[in-house]
């Protein structure tokens, strides 16, 4: 039971980082990406490759993962600068579908559908953090750092400019904000952090394959942010906790066959997204201001 809870808490921390970084795009910058699982995957694969071939040190692997995700995020920044609204959603969707195929087919780097196995346990500057408890502390520390970074950034001039941009792009431009630089930076920073989440995920599971980085995962991440409350610091965390505890809670209900739990879970978060948008578009935590 304790082992189960530690595992759940670790996953909550990892997805907490992923959702917080997506919130930077959706909630603060108004960039509605449904390609976030792609960058989560890039982080995980890069960290796994670094650990398998070079060094299992967490700092090295996570930094490589974050930098790779941030660099490749320029693929997402490009359409974000050129188009908005439904066009951007469609572009990010296209990107995600291409990435899923690449993850499944680029055998040399990702191991194909079979994935990468036997990722060595990680360590930090020689200290062993392989035990579940130690790893949980590491994941929580990363989550705390991410939250702190996002909070600091969003309270500063960058965050305010970003939110101005989200609320009215032309107004922000009229006030002399560099729209292109701001958007690119938001995408790069968001993908940097999800790269770290990907690295944690790879070390935690000791195995990565394409299943974890598909469109469904992107949608789940989006659901976490939206259900919790986009544009708030705690909202995405609430969404993560709600969605990750759901399977556990459902398994206590005797009338749902265990094979159907995934389906029921899908139904609940789908319906929850729709109902929230009708009655409380700002999410569970959000102010009654509305997602923009």
């Amino acid at each position: 039971m304790i082992a189960y809870l530690v595992n759940l808490a670790t996953l909550i921390a990892i997805f907490g980082i992923a959702a917080t970084s997506l919130n930077l795009l959706i909630g603060y910058a108004g960039i509605f990406s449904i390609a976030h699982a792609m960058f989560f995957g890039i982080g995980a694969y890069v960290a796994a490759q670094v650990a398998l071939t070079f060094s299992a040190d967490f700092l090295v692997a996570a930094l490589a993962a974050a930098v790779a995700a941030a660099a490749l995020s320029l693929c997402l920044a490009l359409p974000a600068l050129r188009v908005r609204g439904e066009y951007f959603v469609a572009a990010s969707l296209g990107l995600q579908m291409m990435a899923s195929t690449l993850f499944a087919e680029a055998h040399g780097f990702t191991g194909g559908v079979g994935g990468l196995v036997g990722i060595p346990p990680t360590r930090i500057l020689g200290f062993d953090v392989a035990s579940p408890d130690a790893f949980l502390v590491l994941a929580l520390a990363c989550l705390a750092l991410t939250l702190l970074a996002v909070r600091t950034l969003m309270r500063g001039s960058f965050g305010r400019s970003l939110m101005a941009l989200r609320d009215s792009e032309s107004a922000a431009e009229a006030f002399g904000k560099d729209v292109r630089a701001l958007k690119t930076l938001a995408v790069v920073i968001g993908c940097f952090f999800v790269g770290i989440a990907g690295a944690l995920f790879a070390f935690h599971m000791a195995f990565v394959n394409v299943e974890s980085f598909t469109l469904e995962q992107s949608v789940v991440l989006m659901a976490m942010v939206i259900i919790g409350g986009a544009g708030t610091l705690t909202g995405p965390l609430v969404g993560v906790i709600a969605l990750l505890s759901l399977p556990a809670a459902l398994s206590f209900l005797p009338f749902i066959p265990s094979t159907q739990i995934g389906t029921v879970q899908q139904f609940i978060y789908g319906a929850l997204m729709t109902l929230l948008m009708i009655f409380r578009p700002s999410g569970l935590v959000g102010l009654s201001r509305g997602v923009r």
Binding site: G94, M97, A223, G270, T274
Partner: protein, 289 residues
């Protein structure tokens, strides 16, 4: 001959994509709702047809059942989901998320009751005969062709020759002015959902009897319709239909060049390229972004 066979398969898939995408484009063009739950309409219609057939109904009755279910779902989404949202705020993303959620929930519901695997029924129509040496075509291909042409002719006539059709086109251009002329925007948007959802039905039924239908098709159809609408030029029904046809062809023809796994990715590379370099699509009006 392989290439011709693939092209025939591509045209058949493409025609069905064309109809479904046209429905999506019609709804989007008239109401500005990005109705991604359209994929759910598709699988609902397919499973409704299947259930009715298995209960022993005549195929015409079963098709009518499928049509009713699809239209009812479209109207349900319009009245109980989109309208309340648009009443209080209605930003693009709020509506999109609501639609997405409804699509996921509906797909899960169907999976819960009918299972996640392929469901199909066999008809004599789907047995392929050798038309030319090495070229197999099932009679259902001609049925599909006839149905698609007929439906397109009907919808074009409706949009161009009737008052309601004219109203629909006006709705997309200037809803305020429409209201000033005493037309009901609400009733027209309901009409758009009725027509758009109905356009998903032929594709759903023909898919069910040819390749079989599965809940995951909902997401696939949603992606294809969305891609076709963007590639065709947002707001253009003809563009979406043409793009749907092209997507179906590309999906099948790339198989002769690369492995099957890449076929879906090919469509999305095309989509991504269009958004970056030609965001107005094949037939979109300039400045439509």
């Amino acid at each position: 001959m392989l290439l011709t066979q693939l092209a025939v398969a591509g045209i058949q898939t493409g025609m069905l994509y064309a109809l479904t995408a046209a429905g999506f484009a019609l709804i989007f063009g008239a109401t500005r709702v990005f109705h991604v739950a359209h994929g759910a309409t598709f699988i609902l219609a397919g499973y409704a047809f299947l259930e009715a057939m298995q209960m022993g109904a005549h195929w015409a009755i079963a098709s009518l059942v499928a049509l009713t279910v699809a239209v009812a779902f479209g109207l349900f989404m319009d009245m109980l989901v989109y309208r309340p949202i648009q009443k209080h705020e209605g930003s693009f993303f709020t509506v999109f998320v609501a639609s997405f959620g409804a699509g996921i929930a509906m797909q899960a519901l169907i999976q819960f009751f009918f299972g996640g695997g392929f469901a199909t029924i066999s008809l004599p129509l789907t047995r392929a005969t050798e038309l030319l040496p090495g070229l197999y075509i099932a009679p259902v291909f001609w049925v599909a062709l006839a149905v698609v042409l007929l439906v397109f002719a009907a919808i074009t006539l409706f949009l161009e020759r009737t008052h309601a059709g004219l109203g629909l086109r006006a709705l997309s251009e200037n809803p305020e002015l429409l209201r000033a002329y005493g037309l009901s925007a609400r009733r027209l948007s309901a009409l758009a959902f009725v027509l758009g959802s109905a356009l998903a039905v032929p594709g759903a039924i023909l898919t069910t009897v040819t390749t079989g239908i599965q809940p995951a098709d909902g997401a696939h159809v949603m992606l294809v319709s969305l891609a076709a609408t963007v590639v065709g030029g947002i707001g253009s029904i003809r563009g979406a239909a043409l793009a749907g046809l092209v997507l179906g062809l590309v999906e099948n023809l790339v198989v002769s060049v690369v492995d099957t796994q890449w076929s879906q990715a090919a469509s999305f590379v095309m989509l991504f390229g269009f958004i970056l370099f030609r965001p107005n699509g094949l037939m979109g009006r300039a400045g439509a972004r």
